[in-house]
């Protein structure tokens, strides 16, 4: 695979990552958000594979594989199980209106690309627009966490944010050392497990959602 083709593909995949991010933001139901983040992880895996093929970096193959298995299949499956088990309302409850979050997201993209323009030397030939896209994903993921009431959707935001970190790392420096990548993924899986169990336990013992925790303040 030529470098030129890889750059183009990474560019297109960046667009797809952004689009799935918007889908997460605009989703009206928890399931849709989970599907969207799963699709995002799958695209991320493809991006890893493209970079692996272009650079011949074997570690990237492993990372791409782990990404697809862990984040596009395992974690979404886990989340969907939790949603089914706790039978929470399926609507996403936004803290601020959806169109406002979309507007903020548009602002974030402009900011990221604007800052990127001033970071000339960091842009490498192979990465194209990957850096601003990655930064955008990270920031919008945090936005999702900040603007949604349900703990599970906040989890989705965390995954998306994490996808952004991966994409940035892969595209800018052809990936972090393998051990770190695996560690991070394990961290996320562990976080998801803890969160899922917490949601389940809270729901089954006191019949309250995580969002109700805010009523505990003094």
């Amino acid at each position: 695979m030529t470098v030129e083709l890889a750059t183009r593909l990474i560019d297109v995949l960046g667009g797809l990552l952004l689009f799935t991010m918007l889908l997460i933001l605009a989703a009206g139901q928890v399931f849709r958000a989970i599907y969207a983040v799963a699709a995002q992880a799958a695209f991320l895996g493809v991006a890893g594979a493209v970079l692996a093929a272009a650079t011949g970096n074997v570690d990237l193959w492993v990372i791409a594989g782990i990404t697809v298995v862990a984040k596009a299949v395992l974690l979404p499956w886990l989340l969907i199980r939790v949603v089914r088990r706790v039978r929470i309302a399926r609507e996403i409850e936004p803290v601020i209106p959806v169109h406002l979050t979309l507007t903020i997201a548009a602002g974030i993209v402009v900011l990221a690309f604007h800052l990127n323009a001033s970071l000339g030397p960091v842009r490498q030939a192979i990465t194209g627009n990957a850096l601003p896209v990655g930064v955008t994903l990270i920031l919008i993921g945090v936005l999702v966490m900040a603007s949604r009431r349900k703990a599970l959707v906040q989890m989705v935001g965390l995954f998306a944010s994490e996808n952004g970190i991966f994409f940035t790392a892969m595209a800018v420096s052809q990936g972090m050392p393998l051990i770190i990548e695996i560690g991070v993924i394990l961290d996320v899986v562990l976080g998801a497990l803890v969160m899922g169990i917490l949601v389940l336990r809270v729901r089954s013992s006191v019949d309250a959602d995580i969002a109700d925790l805010e009523s505990l303040r003094g």
């Binding site: 667009g15 952004l18 689009f19 009206g28 507007t103 402009v110």
Partner: protein, 316 residues
């Protein structure tokens, strides 16, 4: 070198093709929906039969309607069919046309003119259904327009023109090798196409007397040949929208001369593109529920943000 005469002839041929094929596309979407619902469904030629039947029928007119009401179907059909002269269907011009019509902004404005006239006509009969349909259709229309403009813009930035034929010709070498902005603009355009063609999840073309209706509500007082005109206009508008999507994002296979071989390729490519897009419409319509009217702005908002990002990625 393309002379004025050949250009006019080609434009007329393309327009005739679009008008003639428009009911067929509706028939195909209906057929696909029926098959997905495990029904046999009516023949794909059914829309033609419906039109022929309506044209033969008499008319019933509201007693409050002014002469304007009678003129509405004529003007709506004229404005809609005029847009067929602005699209590259089979041929893509290499240089600005001798007969300058093919501008995307003019195309969008003519569709807006048709919508405006239809809405005004709906208020003429003096029933609540017409008014409700008109109000909602205008609302959806005005929400579509800014996103559509951003989409056209983001595509036009790369070619420096909004003339659809030239745009398609200039983007043809890039063919399917999209960059991220193209992809985002395509997503935006597909969302907008659902709204522009009056399909689920924005509107439901199958119901007449539900409160969900937008477009159909406006047609309630039209009958006979007048209704046929508007029905044909709706079908043409649908095909024009699909052709616009194809011209902006899939400009492959367009002919540059009139040799039989390249014409056959162009016709095949056009059929394939329209079939794919019509399939998209049918699939979405079969797998989604209609959105509550006040959810539609969220849906179109997604399109607007996509289009904005497409432009941002292009110019920043």
């Amino acid at each position: 070198m393309e002379t004025t005469l050949t250009h006019v002839a080609r434009t007329a041929a393309q327009a005739a093709l679009l008008v003639a094929a428009a009911p067929l596309v509706t028939g195909l979407v209906q057929k696909l929906k029926a098959r997905l619902q495990c029904r046999r469904g009516a023949s794909v030629w059914q829309p033609y039969r419906d039109l022929a039947k309506l044209l033969r029928k008499g008319t019933v007119e509201a007693d409050t309607a002014s002469p304007f009401f009678r003129a509405v179907p004529v003007l709506v059909l004229a404005a809609t069919v005029a847009t067929t002269a602005m699209l590259p269907v089979l041929w893509a011009p290499a240089q600005p046309a001798a007969v300058p019509l093919g501008d995307a902004i003019l195309l969008v404005a003519l569709l807006a003119l048709a919508r405006f006239l239809l809405a005004v006509g709906a208020l003429d009969a003096g029933g609540a259904f017409g008014g409700m349909g008109a109000s909602r259709e205008m609302t959806v229309g005005l929400l579509v327009e800014p996103a559509l403009m951003l989409t056209v813009f983001s595509v036009a930035v790369s070619a420096g023109t909004t003339e659809v034929g030239l745009l398609a010709a200039r983007r043809a070498p890039l063919a399917l090798s999209w960059a991220a902005p193209d992809l985002l603009a395509l997503f935006a355009m597909l969302i907008l196409a659902l709204a522009e063609t009056g399909r689920i999840p924005v509107d439901n073309p199958d119901t007449h007397l539900e409160l969900t209706m937008l477009h159909e509500g406006m047609l309630l007082e039209h009958s006979g040949p007048g209704l046929a005109c508007i029905a044909l206009a709706t079908q043409v508008k649908q095909l024009v929208t699909l052709t616009l999507v194809a011209a902006l994002f899939l400009p492959v296979g367009l002919a540059s001369d009139s040799s039989p071989a390249s014409l056959a390729i162009a016709l095949g490519a056009f059929a394939a593109k329209v079939l794919a897009l019509a399939g998209f419409l049918g699939l979405v319509e079969s797998s989604y529920a209609k959105l509550r009217f006040f959810r539609v702005p969220h849906f179109l908002g997604l399109g607007l943000v996509c289009a904005f990002l497409a432009l941002a990625l292009r110019v920043l």
